[in-house]
Assembly symmetry: C2
Homo-oligomer: 310 residues x 2
């Protein structure tokens, strides 16, 4: 057990929404940036934690895409929230599961005494890279952000009970944005290659790989941790797609055991898991002592499981 | 002390070089990608470690810029080195000091028993983003990669003795590539805005901020760790620029105590520190028992210090 506690949480989604088949999707529509959303969610998390930025000793950005190629996202968030202070800022990235990976890693540093209060921020603005011609992804994604203040605790029952990360790179090109990095530079952009600079999701291929790998992963995690899914109070999965119930049924997880908010929120990329976790805390649906299993699939294909006792 | 050891190391720079004022700069010249260089350095590190990829249990990419916006660099490296295996892959980014930040973080996870052998790879291809019109940066940067296998050790004298990271975001825009992320999308690229998509360094401004902040940081580190710079065998600084001797003299560090290879290698961005560290190991200039202080400044402005006992 790595003893940490959630000291503050905040989420943010743009006011502007779109509707597809009766489902709500948040879209910034040019009025807000990925950075704006990150900062708003972070300020809410600080307010709930009743902390000033002076009490935070590390800022971690855990988003899928970058705001600028240089510097890292966390430095830009630092500039908005902590300019003039010298707390460290760095990015941790495993695409859609970046938040879970960051929480997983930082729990070691907090437990070891390196940091006392860490601000982890996930913010993604999918709408900047969606391709209208790819209906499945265009109608699925939302813009959003969520932030958490994670703190050291003396309560020995609180913290990360266990966690696991696996990357299956046979799925490395099933979810991607090919253009904009060094392999296909932004400066080589031509209108006719637009699709290469947009989000490209091979839905069926990821679904089939996830459906194959997740049951193995859950088994491995149950053996490793000695805790079965039935002993968990709630599962917060990445809101990957409408196929969530299919995947959960493949895992033998009953509907009352997991949270499906795809209709309400869509897939918010890296913000998806922390956004739902934040909503559950705001609604009082989860409380101290509960065992929450964060579970996600990400481009890579990377899968994360992290069991948190609140 | 977080007990880890260097089990393997490898570096790679493109064959093609350019010369400016008698100084050598490596430039891939379109024949190699950031990913190619990462993979070559990683294979060398595995060979020196006498390990197969099967013995590695985590791949961390610690580069400044991304190869593709999605997925993360580590997933693409995983695909080249570890396809069909399911070891985790994630990116850690603090721009030029990404390697030091990654080593710092992963030392906690290794010491805590999460991973036994971690492959950390830094690869950057500055030439993809340099602006010929900005002579100072154009003539300074090189392309290069370096990789390390970091392993758990039972030797209680080996490992990370102490480390510190500080971000001074008043320097957030002193070193940047503004375009290509979500704030200035690749899809909005116009030839007349090219400079916004290129590397932009305000050399004087960073130098003055570094010269002000680094002495404070060194003092803080000496107090925190209880180890003074005079007790360190060698300092491996980020090869930031020709001003390295100026900065070192400001810190009161004599020339024989630090490594300056700016003439030979240029500034290799995130690969800079691990490339020099690798060169020193290859040359037998550092050996088991030596105390090596890694020291870097990065866009952000982020400063890292990490004291390693080999």
């Amino acid at each position: 057990m790595r003893n940490i506690r959630i000291a503050g949480y905040g989420k943010y989604a743009p006011e502007n929404t779109m509707e597809f088949h009766g489902e709500c999707r948040y879209r910034a529509n040019g009025s807000e940036t990925q950075l704006d959303m990150a900062v708003k969610a972070a300020r809410r998390a600080l307010a709930i934690a009743k902390m000033q930025i002076e009490e935070i000793d590390c800022i971690v950005s855990a988003s899928a895409v970058m705001m600028q190629p240089i510097p890292c996202n966390a430095a830009l968030i630092h500039e908005q929230l902590a300019k003039g202070r010298n707390i460290p800022a760095m990015d941790i990235n495993s695409t859609c599961t970046s938040f879970v990976t960051a929480l997983d890693m930082m729990s070691y540093l907090i437990a070891a005494g390196r940091y006392r209060n860490v601000l982890i921020v996930s913010s993604d603005i999918a709408s900047e890279g969606l391709n209208e011609a790819q209906q499945e992804s265009y109608e699925l994604f939302s813009d959003g952000a969520a932030a958490f203040v994670i703190s050291r605790t003396e309560n020995e029952k609180q913290g990360v009970m266990d966690s696991i990360i696996r990357t299956y790179s046979e799925g490395a090109h099933s979810t991607e944005i090919r253009g904009g990095g060094t392999l296909h530079s932004a400066m080589k952009y031509r209108t006719e290659d637009r699709a290469d600079y947009c989000f490209d999701m091979k839905g069926k291929s990821i679904l089939s790989l996830s459906a194959k790998k997740l049951p193995e992963l859950f088994r491995e995690f149950e053996e490793k941790s000695g805790i079965s899914c039935s002993e968990v109070d709630i599962i917060v999965p990445h809101q990957a797609s409408k196929a969530l119930p299919f995947i959960m049924s493949r895992l033998g997880i009953p509907a009352e055991k997991y949270v499906d908010r795809v209709r309400q929120y869509g897939n918010m990329v890296s913000a998806s898991i922390p956004y739902v976790l934040c909503a559950l805390l705001e609604e009082g649906r989860i409380k101290e002592g509960d065992r929450v299993l964060l579970c996600g699939t990400a481009a890579g294909l990377t899968c994360n499981l992290l069991l948190l006792q609140l």
